[in-house]
Symmetry: C2
Amino acid sequence: MNVALANRMQHMRASEIREMLKVTQRPAVISFAGGLPAPESFPVEELKEVTRRVLEEEGARALQYSTTEGHAPLRSRLAARLTARLDADVPADRVLVTTGSQQGLDLLGKVFLDEGDEVVCESPTYLGAINALRAFAPRFVEVRTDDEGMVPDDLAARLAACRRPKLIYVVPDFQNPSGRCWTRPRREALLAIAARFGVPVVEDAPYRELRYEGDEEPALLALDGDDLVVHLGTASKIFCPGMRIGWMVAPAGLFDKFVLVKQGADLHTSSFTQIVFDTYLASHDLDAAIVRIRALYRRRRDAMLAAIAREFPPGVRTTHPAGGLFLWAELAEGVNARAVLARCLELDVAFVPGGSFFPNGGHENTLRLNFSNMPEDRIRDGIARLGAVLRDVAVAARGISLARQSILEEAV
Amino acid sequence: MNVALANRMQHMRASEIREMLKVTQRPAVISFAGGLPAPESFPVEELKEVTRRVLEEEGARALQYSTTEGHAPLRSRLAARLTARLDADVPADRVLVTTGSQQGLDLLGKVFLDEGDEVVCESPTYLGAINALRAFAPRFVEVRTDDEGMVPDDLAARLAACRRPKLIYVVPDFQNPSGRCWTRPRREALLAIAARFGVPVVEDAPYRELRYEGDEEPALLALDGDDLVVHLGTASKIFCPGMRIGWMVAPAGLFDKFVLVKQGADLHTSSFTQIVFDTYLASHDLDAAIVRIRALYRRRRDAMLAAIAREFPPGVRTTHPAGGLFLWAELAEGVNARAVLARCLELDVAFVPGGSFFPNGGHENTLRLNFSNMPEDRIRDGIARLGAVLRDVAVAARGISLARQSILEEAV
């Protein structure tokens, strides 16, 4: 029987990445598509001991319902860690434990967005944020973004042209998909402009601790003097994603709003995984684990950058990410990355066409490459195959361009 | 800085129950307030072995991202179990694993509700559903409900008066809060009327397996001939709530819509807790565990019913639930259960005033009592204290009524 759906369902599309992940699960495929952490970095052995201890010592509590805000000891521990690592004042009562930081995006949409409200974001921006927020039918306003972050003049101009700007969403550290890290002046400019327009800023920081070179830039949360920053963090990239543990630090005046909508969304995040993560943090050295993860991913990034230098034809521009999981490539104008992908899939190589990361479309000549999930030899092998396809495409494109030129010359 | 929120936030209120749970966490309090399962029923020992085995045998998978639909072996196992237990045809590809069945309610709101759409529900109805759906700003239409279920004529009349009825939400088995179980004729009448109006029916069935006497009634999912039923189930009451595992069985034509909105909401439910639950189901006898839970809760229900018969004053009407976790009481007209609660809290006894379960207000002379979470001696003790308060209140109410009568007599 046909039934009537909500209007918002017209705007909802399946995430190209998650659909593709299904296709690329064959072991033969060299996948640069997902944003998967390396499974060899997961603390499997440690968790055997931790889960046993949690069940032994507080089994009834770990398996029972708990409060929406999150497990109190975990909130305190996260607050202390954030205070120290971000050099920001983060009291425990502003920390909300979320079911992955993806849930934080959904809660932001619920608290802030009515249909037609504007969400201002980087261009390109994180696909998962587009998908989460699209459920609230906003208008996405893309701001010009270069290697240093959002371009302040463009941000100010676009905010001035908005009717009801509700959120500025950014990933300042090693952005997904571009891999870029914002400079301090750009961070300061963003906050000054946001304060001028009175618009909250979402700092989505899943990759912040995965820096492979250079010095840290200050977190927006630490620079925030106007209670405008909502900070999202996650255990997915430094512990494991399968537990679905994230956190939100919200301004005091907004905290209760997020609790309210989270209550409706899933009552609370799993007590069991929260207590397991908290016990892991209390009994193991997360920072030492992060040092190992960084070393692993730096090697993989270097392998990818070296292979790209060897294999990609001239005319393909790539970013040099100082951290995170992703590298961004821009092909020659007119080359369609989806067509390149179709040929790569025949060679068992996958990546994500970049067009998906632009909420208003376009930019079909871009692509995102993940380097965290494949060992170095497969990275070299996969980039060699991708490079061969790109060289083919470049030759064909040059052919077309020469043909066009000769047609033009004949026409003269 | 003051920032602009979404319009929906005007309608959002904290759940009285969850707020109260915070107050009632002192061990001295005899709480009939929450809907908490008995912690002594949790499979703590079994889970020590299961979690160790999951980490040993498929640690990398259990800690990695997975697909939005859910862990494929768990979906198949749930499908087989539902097919057998509900006598319904449930293929695995219509089973979506959710982060508790609470999330199912949020997904339903996202897929179906625009502001002002009507949600038709029992009167009273589940508070968690009111809270989840209120985020989509619907109009709640309460249908008269008696001991057999919704009254069909009232349902039809109210649907006929709706402008855009989008969902009919019901808890047919041992409803929260009333404890009532719908008869088969009422279930059939509901589906016939829903089909006539083309409105999907949400069958929320968290308590279905907790029957203490009498024969099962058919699930709406089993009676559904029109692909109109969305069935919600949960592990919270038969395994444990702390893992946040629920499931939705959706009509084939709607399944992808729910996957789409779940992707934005939290990407997927914890791979770890899904695989732990699946491994538990594969290696342990859930049905035997449910038999033990039923025996435990039946004893507690009987203790509460017996204590009520001894302690409550005449004029208080209570339900006699054949299953589930709750019993419902209706005090004399004009007695306010919130005032009764205030006095009970001084005596370290808690319950939930019934008014919260009516989305459009009223019915302040009702209350909900949970009997699953307290041992029998504390149930007896708590009901004795509550009974004493109710007897006081009854005397006072009679006094007022006599005084009124004498004033009236004097006036004549």
